[in-house]
């Protein structure tokens, strides 16, 4: 009942920007399909009376008050940036789209 093809896995890898070789795809697409199929077993036991859930703990409405808390010092914010310039994160030029 595998619903995930090799092409699907290649597409997902491209969307997630994971570089996969043909041999990676050969090996992993079968494994990923097996995992997805295993998870899909849940749908066999969940009846109409079981609502979809996104969270295992029955909690809701955990909010915070709209109060300002200190931000990082700019130097700390940029500390882990591969490159910085003018107090900003420097990134390679962006192709194919306009901001």
């Amino acid at each position: 009942m595998s619903t995930l093809s090799r092409a699907d896995v290649a597409r997902l890898a491209a969307l997630a920007r994971i570089d996969m070789s043909d041999s990676d795809l050969d090996r992993l697409s079968g494994q990923i399909a097996a995992i997805v199929d295993a998870v899909a077993l849940v749908s066999e036991v969940a009846g109409q009376d079981v609502p979809a859930t996104s969270h295992p703990i029955p909690m809701s409405n955990v909010h915070r008050a709209d109060e300002v808390r200190p931000s990082l010092a700019p130097a700390d914010a940029l500390a882990a940036a591969p490159e910085a310039e003018d107090g900003r994160f420097r990134v390679p030029r962006i192709l194919g789209e306009e901001a």
């Binding site: 597409r11 997902l12 969307l15 997630a16 920007r17 996104s54 969270h55 703990i57 909690m59 809701s60 409405n61 955990v62 909010h63 915070r64 008050a65 709209d66 109060e67 300002v68 808390r69 200190p70 931000s71 990082l72 700019p74 914010a77 940029l78 882990a80 310039e85 003018d86 107090g87 900003r88 994160f89 420097r90 990134v91 390679p92 030029r93 962006i94 194919g96 789209e97 306009e98 901001a99």
Partner: protein, 509 residues
């Protein structure tokens, strides 16, 4: 420009085809802090000074929902006539772009807070159009990219710089249903709809709605389909392929982008070419659009429920409490105020355009007559704002000041000329109108003995005036009034001066 960009005029496009459009409006909320962290939500600060591990997406950080943002989103949903979902949740929208620190945006997908609404939009000629609202959901804004090198645009740039101060600022995205049947009024309706959203968020006090600063942005979807044959149902004709014009940041551009896109699509269709379903970018300088990324690539966002956030489940009681705080619909409020104030259509339109309505209303509430309030805000103050290149609400003067100033005029303590000087003092930060009048010594002289002395001095040099008045030429008194005003540097009570002159001539005023 390729052959395909030859345009058909808007009117001709609308004669040849039936337009269908939809609008997504993004509203930045004016909460004190961001959507999921306590970083300050203010505009125009030094780059990366309002960031923390949460909005930078650093490992191990956890978002927590801002309650005020949820409240604002629900109030907006209610104002749009939407139902509020008993349980809504956040979802991750996954894509890669440098302004998105986490490589996903927290948004809402299949369970938006607000859904199925309807908004009344009033056009300039009074025509009322009902716009269906599909949904209004909460999400976070992205950071800001600056392209370096080349001409400042993305083309030819050597690299880009990212400031995440705006990353994580709360947004509400409002999505309309497809709007059909507007024909040649499509562009006008689109503009009026966005203007109405702007007025509503301002009336709710949840955003300043300033499009020029990107606090309110519109994406416009437009498609054209063939006109139905005579006697056939237009709504049975399938929609054409649509384009989505992104990030339109003025009301005028909403209208103009539709003019452009309708003309472009009509030209393609009339030439027998297909319209490509795609995102397009609006260019203010050339009033045109250019293609962005294609839809097929962009729409694979792989949404899934956000595991770091819990569902939002507003109680019915809270929703009803919030419903009770809703302001009147801006169009209805305008109609009511115009009636109450006795303004002409033109006076009302000018006041709305100058963003002066609330200021005038507050001035009237503080005790001034509507026309007097209008005169100050749309006259002297509009001129000052224009000179200083600021908006009326940004001037350092309050409705209470203006009401006080007008009261001083009405009580005869100052005349119009002195009132303008007092206002100058208020704008210069010298205090309230009464304080400025006191400190600058602006009060009109209504002390009779001082005025009588001034009148007698003036009459001594022009004694013939009294004879003229006695002969019935009452207007001759004007020369003496003028002389007295000059002698008192404008501070005399002109009405009282005239009475004294007439008394000297032995004539009843």
């Amino acid at each position: 420009m390729t052959a395909a960009t030859h345009l058909v005029g808007y009117d001709d496009a609308m004669k040849a085809f039936d337009p269908v459009f939809g609008i997504e409006v993004h509203v930045e909320l004016n909460t004190k802090t961001k959507m999921f962290c306590g970083c300050e939500n203010t505009f125009g600060n030094e780059p990366n000074t309002q960031v923390c591990p949460v909005c930078l997406g650093l490992p191990g950080s956890m978002p927590v929902t801002n309650e005020k943002a949820v409240e604002s989103a629900i109030r907006l949903g209610l104002a749009l006539g939407c139902s509020i979902r008993e349980s809504s949740r956040f979802a991750r929208k996954n894509y890669f772009y440098p302004d998105l620190a986490k490589d996903y945006q927290i948004s809402q997908y299949d369970e938006p807070t607000s859904y199925e609404g309807e908004l009344e939009v009033v056009l300039d000629d009074g025509t009322v159009v009902m716009i269906g609202i599909e949904r209004a959901h909460m999400e976070e804004d992205a950071g800001k990219n600056t392209h370096v090198g080349g001409t400042g645009g993305i083309q030819g740039a050597s690299h880009s710089l990212v400031d995440y101060n705006r990353g994580g600022v709360p947004l509400v995205e409002i999505v309309t249903k497809p709007i059909e049947g507007m024909g040649e009024r499509t562009a006008e309706v689109a503009r009026a709809y966005v203007a109405t959203i702007r007025d509503i968020v301002r009336a709710l006090g949840i955003s300043d709605g300033r499009m020029e600063q990107g606090r309110l942005r519109a994406d416009v979807n437009l498609s054209l389909r063939p006109k139905a044959a005579d006697g056939e149902d237009q709504s049975a004709v399938p929609f054409g392929k649509r384009s989505e014009t992104k990030n339109i940041n003025s009301l005028r551009a909403v209208e103009r982008s539709i003019h452009y896109e309708a003309g472009r699509q009509a030209a393609l269709l009339l030439a027998g070419q297909p319209v490509v379903q795609e995102t397009r970018h609006w260019h203010e300088d050339t009033s045109s659009t250019t293609p962005g990324r294609s839809k097929e690539e962009a729409e694979e966002y792989r949404y899934f429920p956000e595991p770091d956030l819990l569902p939002v489940e507003p109680s019915r009681e809270w929703i009803e409490e919030l419903r009770a705080t809703l302001p009147e619909h801006p169009a209805k409020m305008r109609a009511r105020l115009r009636e109450e104030w006795g303004f002409s259509d033109l006076e009302m339109r000018d006041a709305v355009a100058a963003d002066a309505l609330t200021l005038i209303a507050d001035t009237v509430a503080a005790g001034a007559a509507p026309q007097a309030a209008r005169k100050w805000w749309m006259g002297e103050l509009a001129r000052t704002a224009n000179e200083q290149d600021v908006t009326l609400p940004e001037l350092p003067v309050t409705p209470a000041h203006i009401a006080e100033l007008q009261r001083l005029v009405d009580e005869g303590k100052i005349n119009d000329k002195l009132a303008r000087q007092a206002l100058e003092g208020v704008l210069a930060g010298e205090g309230s109108p009464a304080e400025v009048v006191a400190s600058r010594g602006l009060e009109v002289v209504s002390d009779d003995s001082a005025l009588e002395a001034a009148v007698d001095d003036a009459l001594a040099s022009q004694p013939e005036v009294l004879d003229k008045i006695r002969e019935g030429k009452v207007q001759a008194a004007g020369a003496i009034v003028g002389a007295v005003m000059k002698a008192t540097r404008g501070q005399a009570d002109a009405g009282r001066v005239r009475e004294i002159i007439l008394a000297r001539a032995g004539v009843e005023g």
